[in-house]
């Protein structure tokens, strides 16, 4: 059995590591590019959400590269994501691919089924060995996220453009090669110091922007036109709402951002008082938090037709009005062009600078 899986940000680093530890035979599909997107768009239903289209593209490329099994994560709703695996299975089989779909449903729903699937993927290892491997890889995932968070914050201060990006790449490479928990810790420290050592101009007073929205659009730089890199190099301090470990993490507590989901739900309550699947409620909660923390603005990433984010978008005008924080919603799908996104970002940045100037003048 040769396994493949779709891309999402740094998920490939983490899963490759896990599969190597578990002696699982796997192929990595090529990183997401226009080719994968075009393939996905061709075979996915027209108004399915964008992540479904892209991941179908990934899987086609993975199967073409010789895989005969697919690992996907399932779900119990109400967001469409829970049904992705099933739909991908049907579409790819209808296309004529012969493969086995292994859907990991959330362990809370059916722990026995989950254990069985794990055993199936890593047939050479015992459940105990799998658990140990997951534990170590989890540490690596947390380390990767911590480094990324620092990169987002400090890129705004770099003296020479792209220095932080280069340091980030070096750091990731070191983390990729780390095997034991001790090595992972060392690699993380090295990565953090690489980012720290980048020559900085600390006299800047950058704009602070929070990035919220649907997790796939947040985590996959090819899909979001790497807006974090773009904004960072424009000298903007960024904080992001969702990291990979928040998504793959088994715990309800948010390990990286330091805010747990109950707290976010509380923050969102005056505007959206019930969870609506996906990140809908946390998106609103994060906007409220960013507003309270004095951020200059928030950018919401919304894959076209994403239900929870549309609900969030519908209540955000009220948040914007009551908490006086500008929110820019970027809707992303295969029709979205980079130039259009950049134009809107530039206009947004101008708006934020003007607001800041006005505020300073008012104070002083």
């Amino acid at each position: 059995m040769k396994i493949t899986f779709p891309h999402m940000g740094n998920l490939d680093i983490i899963l490759s590591d896990l599969f190597t530890r578990l002696d699982v035979n796997f192929v990595l599909p090529p990183k997401t590019t226009t080719k994968a997107i075009n393939l996905g768009v061709k075979y996915a239903p027209e108004f399915a959400c964008f992540p479904l289209k892209v991941t179908i593209g990934n899987l086609i490329e993975g199967l073409e590269a010789g895989a005969d099994a697919v690992v996907m994560v399932g779900g119990i709703g109400p967001c469409r994501f829970g049904f992705y695996a099933e739909i991908q299975n049907k579409i790819l089989h209808d296309m004529g691919y012969d493969f086995e779909m292994i859907t990991l449903e959330p362990p809370m729903a059916d722990i026995k089924d989950f254990a069985g699937k794990c055993k199936k993927i890593a047939s050479k290892k015992t459940l105990w060995q799998i658990l140990q491997a997951v534990r170590i890889v989890w540490k690596k995932a947390v380390a990767i996220d911590e480094v990324e968070r620092e990169v987002l914050k400090w890129r705004a201060f770099e003296k020479n453009p792209r220095d932080t990006t280069v340091a980030h790449k070096k750091g990731l490479a070191a983390l990729k090669d780390a095997i034991t928990p001790c090595e992972i810790k060392k690699a993380k420290e090295k990565a953090l110091s690489l980012v720290n050592e980048v020559e900085k101009d600390l006299c800047r007073c950058p704009l602070k922007i929070g990035i919220v929205g649907e997790f796939y659009a947040l985590l996959e730089p090819y899909v979001n036109f790497d807006i974090e890199g773009y904004l960072g190099q424009k000298g903007i301090y960024l904080e992001r709402a969702v990291y990979l470990t928040d998504w793959i993490g088994p715990s309800k507590k948010n390990s990286v951002m330091g805010t747990d989901s109950d707290e976010l739900a509380k923050a969102a309550k005056p505007y959206l008082s019930h969870f609506v699947g996906g990140e809908g409620q946390t998106t609103v909660g994060h906007v409220v938090k960013f507003a309270e923390e004095g951020f200059d603005g928030v950018i919401q990433l919304l894959p076209f037709t994403c239900m929870p984010e549309i609900i969030a978008k519908s209540v955000l005008p009220k948040v914007r009005k009551e908490l006086d924080i500008p929110v820019l919603t970027l809707i992303i799908d295969e029709q979205t062009g980079r130039a259009g996104v950049i134009t809107r970002l530039e206009a947004f940045i101008d708006l934020l600078w003007n607001r800041r100037k006005k505020k300073l003048l008012a104070v002083g």
């Binding site: 239903p45 108004f47 109400p78 967001c79 049904f83 739909i87 809908g280 919304l302 239900m307 978008k313």
Partner: protein, 321 residues
Amino acid sequence: MKVGIPRALLYYKYFPLWNTFFSELGAEVVLSPQTNKRILNLGTEAAENEVCLPVKVFYGHTLSLKDKVDALFVPRIVSVEGGAYTCPKFLGLPDMIRALDVDLPQIISPTINLKLGWREFYRSIYELGGYFTKNFFKITLAFHKGLNDLRSFKHLTQNGCLLNEALTGRFSPVPKGPLRIGVVGHPYNIFDSYVSMNLIERLQKKDIKVLTAEMVSPEIIDEIVSNLQKKLFWTYEKDVVGAVFHWLDTRAVDGIIYVLSFACGPDSLIQILIEHEAKEKGFSVPIMPIVIDEHSGEAGLVTRLEAFTDMISRKAVKEKS
């Protein structure tokens, strides 16, 4: 107290229950008029662009009611059975309405979530009744009267009565033609004659018998969907899938029209399930998807219906000879 019920979304599922419940508790129920151009425009202007058509229609109905009532009824229907949800939009609906930039009367929005069990369910019913009376027995009685009315309404639809006819009590003559077409999709799309551009009436005028998912018994639907590889976690999509699979199995229809609203999340995926099943089992029943949004034109629909029904009747003649 005047309670406004928008004639949209889950009105098509539960109106008899709410109507009786509120009336029994002494409230006056005000129902918004049939969808028309003005209502649709109100909705599309107020809603964010990306919101799906049925929710925009709901916005329109709510706004058309706001000055005529003391309270608006916008329930948060999270789950109507143990293991499944409704669409996410139903979960956020009251908040979406509250976020509208207009002055609204009081909004009554009980949370109905059967995932939390019957105790929680009855608690929200009593909370809802509490808006009108403090009398525990009166609420219980009113609710059970409402349930009874809902049951008889469902009984009607299951025995072949079309949902809009069962709701309004206006019955049209039964078509006598030999052709039968199954029309599936959300009731709030199909039975809103403005939104669906009179789809059902058009078919009936051609003397075609129209079958809908409401006419398939819940037991059959449950059995069919329990055979699915993955459990469907949206209740109202189960009805669509169950009915289509049932019709395909029993060859009860000559053709199927699947009405989807543009950018409807669940519909986009269910379509794949249906097409896959039909293909897998090698059924020859033609399936035509019709996607509607606020820009849909009548001429396009008429042409497509014409072509579809012609094709089906030619096929039926051929099979008989």
